[in-house]
Every structure is written in structure tokens, then in C-alpha cells.
Amino acid sequence: MKAIVTVVGKDQVGIIAGVCNTLADRQINVLDISQTIMEGYFTMMMVVDLAACKAPFDELRAMLKDYGESRTLSIRIQREDIFDAMHKL
């Protein structure tokens, strides 16, 4: 299953490294990354593959949220389908 991880927050050293390590710990493969600074905020989206991840989705979501909050970042994970539905014909 593919999902989209989004990260928004004040720019700081090591955001990508931290998020990628957290994902790697759960066997989540990163397929694509797109990142920019929007209105002064670090803004990133990653397409990830959850095929090898054993953790339930709910737990993953909570874990990323908690990690984000520990670094004053907003991190969320959502299945890709919702974005496909809204933006692709």
C-alpha cells in the first residue's frame, strides 16, 4: 500500500534525516520526496511504500505524529488514494 507522508514546520537541521530514519526503522520504503520552503515553513511530501511494514496504520500515524510534535513539526500519513481521487481524473 502506498501512502503520503507530509511534514510541515519551522526549518531546522536534520528534518529529512530524522523522518527517514523513523520510517526506515519500520521497514517503510521511500519512493519519492518533494520538498520546498513555503511561506517560511519547511514543507515536504514523501510517497512511501508500506508493503514491508508490519505496524498497524493507526500506530504508524500516532508514532509519526508524536515524533513530529517532539520537534515542533506537523507530520501526517495518509493513504495515497485520497489525493488521487481528488486530483487525478
Binding site: 503520503i4 507530509t6 501526517r76 495518509q78 488514494d81 489525493f83 481521487a85
Partner: protein, 452 residues
């Protein structure tokens, strides 16, 4: 390929513009629960609902978590109880409501609809007994919603039913007076009721439906409002196009959730209801969309035209985004559930008369309107008759959900709580309609040609 902007547009819609799935409603047929023994009938109803909807709430929560889209309510609709209970050897239909309430609570849903009767042309025994039980049923339950269809374009209007509904609404208000007549917020009087409506209080599972079905109602006035802020002063062609594009996106999301819920629950997908359903939250108002089009206050001259455009564009945009569209599709204008409508009613610009005109061009009707407690049953019936006539002649669904609040008068506020919001009591005309309502009988079905 999705880009960063797409992703964050969606997240903004959910986070800042109140985009949500208003409801996943599971329709369940109770036609196979019929029994002469009322106790046995209630047992069968309870068992069937609990069996079918066992995983509804958990599935809703799972989808919410995985897709990151709030699903505000999970609901159940059932076959109109008057049809199911009609063969039971009992005159007391309150136990059927208690059974629905208990089943709803066991499943953990927010509402259960279908304590209903279809009496557009006349009453059978089950209809008579159900109508008699409605006030007690609503007073003794928490989740049960009731609806009565009193007219249709093909049958005309059953004015005996209209007269009775005025009295039933008054009695319901009286029995739930400690909660400011809350029971009336769960009671809808329809003309041209639809069989696949996922929205409460009027949801029921029609007899032409499958054994069980998943219907989804979307929301998103905040998203439309936000989109229109980007085309200030532009001609209406641009306004309509912007609403259509937004409605398309909202509905695609609804369709995806409906398909997912249907798959996980192994229940056929019914319809997506293309609705703009407001909530009392700031920024989630249909009235504010109309004001964004250039009206100082919702309810002033131009409101009906603005609403007509909005309603039509929502349907045009949404219809291509979903495999099957149905329910009440369109913009809702419930006064207490819409922050902008509340403000417009409070300042006196939005009146019941204007709302009635607005219902000619939008979804449903006079919805969640609080009126003084001394409003007579006949006046309420006459309001219902007017609204049913709008629906009957225009071949559309119309409805009345009106709350006479005992001990309060024009200008006072009532708090309904949650999605039901709060409402200022609105004035009604005081000249009597009693002799009109006392006539009874039926208003014949209207001519379908010579349209003028």
C-alpha cells in the same frame, strides 16, 4: 503525478476549510423481521441491525485514520417502521423505537433513522399507530429519528396527515420541553421523500432498496467558500465554474470513501449524496457562500438567485465524480446548523418567508427552524402545507423540521448542541390558518404540463 501543491491543497481543505464526510449511513431492510408477535418482531429487528452494522463504526474509524479524512457521523437507516410493525398484534409502537435506540447504541452509531411512515395518499393501520407513537418515541429515545411523508407530486398532499403532523410536532415539543423541544429536531415532515437519503433526521431505507446498502453524504461549504474568495467580483460564469470544480473534488473524495466502506463492509454501494451540509462552526456555512457572492446578509434580495446558482453548480460538479448519485443532493439551509444563517436570522434579514422561497431552488426545505412556543398546531400544519406544495408542484423533495420552543419567544436562543447547533426563535405570521387546516382531505396531484 501528484505535486506538492495538490497534497497541501487537500490537507488545507481538511484542516482549515472543514472538509469532511458528514456521514456513512448503512441502510438495512427490516422487511424480513415482520412477525405477528411484537416482541418477536423487536428481537428480529435488534438482531438484524446489530448483525449488519456490527463493524460499521469501526470501519468508519479505520477509513478516517488511514485516509486522514474526518467521518463525522456513522448512521443507520431502516425500512419505515410503519411497514414492518403493521402486521404486529399491538397498538403500542413505542417499543419499536426503543428497540431501534438500543440497537443503535449497541452498534455505536450517532443516529438511527426510519421510525417513519409514508402517508402521502392515506393511512394504513401501521401508519396510524406509528404517528400516534412518534411524540413518546422521540421523548424516550436518544438516537432515533422519525420522518413522515405527507405528499408527493404524483399523489398530491394528504391534508389530514398535515393537520396531524402539526399536533404531533407540538406534542413532541411539549414532551421534550426540558431540552427546548429537542425531540422536534429529530422529526421531519417530507413531500417527495427519497428512499436512499443518508442524512438525518429524514433517512429511511426504501422498499425498493437492496437488503443492506452503504450511502455516503459529503460536506464542504467551507471549501466552496474558500474557493470563491479567489474570484471576487468575477462574473457568475466564473463563480459557477469554480463551484463545479470544487464540488467535483469533494464528491470524488466521497465516492472513494463510499467505495472503500462498501468493500470493507461487504455491503453494496448505494449512492453518494452530493450535498453542501453546513455545521455551526465558523467557516463551514452555506449562508457565507451566498454572502461571498455579493450579498451583505443572507436573506436579502438576491439570495434565492445566489442559492439557485450554488445548488445547480454543486450538482453539475458532483455528478461526474460519482458512479451513483442520490439522496437529497444539493445545498442544505438548516438555520440552527449554519453559523451564517443564525447571524442572518438574528439580525432579522432572514425570515421564514424568505427561507420558503429559498427552498424552491435548493435541497430539502424549512430546516431546523425554532419558533415561539405559543405557535399553534394549525400554524405549524399550514407551514408544512406550504412547503409540501412547493415540493409537489416543483417535483422536488421538500421538508419541514420546525421546533416550537415552550416558554420562549422571538429573539430568544435555543441550544441544540453538537451538529444541531443553536437557533434564534424566528417570528411566524399570527393570522390564523385554523379553518384552512380543519378542512382535511387531499390536495389533488398537480398537472404536469402547461408549466407556467
Amino acid at each position: 503525478m501528484l505535486n506538492l501543491q495538490n497534497i497541501f491543497d487537500t490537507i488545507d481543505m481538511i484542516d482549515k476549510q472543514h472538509l469532511d464526510i458528514r456521514t456513512i449511513t448503512m441502510g438495512i431492510s427490516l422487511l424480513d423481521c415482520v412477525s405477528e408477535d411484537p416482541k418477536r418482531c423487536c428481537e428480529k429487528i435488534y438482531d438484524k441491525i446489530c448483525r449488519r452494522a456490527e463493524k460499521l463504526v469501526q470501519t468508519g474509524r479505520d477509513i478516517e485514520s488511514e485516509f486522514g479524512i474526518p467521518i463525522v457521523n456513522k448512521r443507520i437507516s431502516v425500512t419505515p417502521v410503519a411497514l414492518v410493525a403493521g402486521s404486529c398484534d399491538t397498538e403500542d409502537y413505542v417499543p419499536f423505537a426503543l428497540t431501534l435506540d438500543r440497537a443503535g447504541k449497541t452498534c455505536g452509531v450517532d443516529f438511527i433513522g426510519g421510525y417513519s411512515a409514508l402517508v402521502q395518499k392515506g393511512f394504513h393501520k401501521g401508519d396510524e399507530l406509528l404517528l400516534r407513537a412518534i411524540p413518546q418515541a422521540l421523548a424516550q429515545t436518544d438516537l432515533v429519528c422519525s420522518s413522515v411523508n405527507v405528499g408527493s407530486t404524483k399523489a398530491g398532499i394528504n391534508m389530514d396527515a398535515v393537520a396531524r403532523m402539526g399536533r404531533i410536532i407540538k406534542e413532541t415539543a411539549h414532551l421534550t420541553r426540558d431540552a427546548d423541544g429537542l425531540g422536534c429536531a429529530k422529526l421531519v415532515v417530507f413531500c417527495n421523500a427519497v428512499e436512499d437519503n443518508p442524512f438525518m433526521a429524514g433517512a429511511f431505507h426504501g422498499v425498493g432498496e437492496a437488503d443492506s446498502v452503504i450511502n455516503v453524504g459529503v460536506s464542504g461549504p467551507g471549501v466552496v467558500y474558500h474557493a470563491l474568495q479567489k474570484c471576487k467580483g468575477a462574473p457568475f460564469d466564473v463563480v459557477a465554474e469554480t463551484i463545479k470544480k470544487t464540488a467535483f473534488q469533494i464528491t470524488r473524495m466521497g465516492q472513494m470513501v463510499a467505495a472503500e466502506a462498501s468493500r470493507r463492509l461487504d455491503t453494496p454501494f448505494g449512492i453518494v449524496d452530493l450535498s453542501l451540509a453546513p455545521t455551526p462552526a465558523i467557516g463551514d456555512s452555506v449562508a457565507r457562500i451566498l454572502e461571498e457572492m455579493g450579498l451583505a446578509v443572507c436573506g436579502t434580495h438576491g439570495t434565492t438567485a445566489a442559492l439557485a446558482l450554488l445548488n445547480d453548480a454543486v450538482k453539475k460538479g458532483g455528478i461526474m465524480a460519482s458512479g451513483h448519485v442520490g439522496g437529497l443532493s444539493g445545498a442544505f439551509i438548516p438555520v440552527s446548523e449554519d453559523e451564517g444563517m443564525i447571524a442572518a436570522a438574528q439580525c432579522g434579514t432572514l425570515t421564514i418567508d424568505k427561507l420558503e422561497a429559498m427552498t424552491c431552488v435548493c435541497s430539502v426545505g424549512l430546516d431546523m427552524i425554532a419558533v415561539p412556543g405559543d405557535t399553534t398546531a394549525e400554524t405549524i400544519s399550514a407551514i408544512i402545507a406550504d412547503e409540501a406544495a412547493v415540493g409537489m408542484v416543483n417535483s422536488k423533495t421538500t421538508a419541514v423540521r420546525i421546533i416550537p420552543v415552550e416558554g420562549k419567544t422571538v429573539g430568544d436562543m435555543v441550544e441544540m448542541g453538537g451538529l444541531l447547533g443553536s437557533a434564534p426563535l424566528m417570528p411566524v405570521h399570527t393570522a390564523s390558518s385554523a379553518a384552512f387546516i380543519a378542512r382535511g382531505g387531499r390536495i389533488p396531484a398537480p398537472l404536469q404540463s402547461l408549466k407556467n
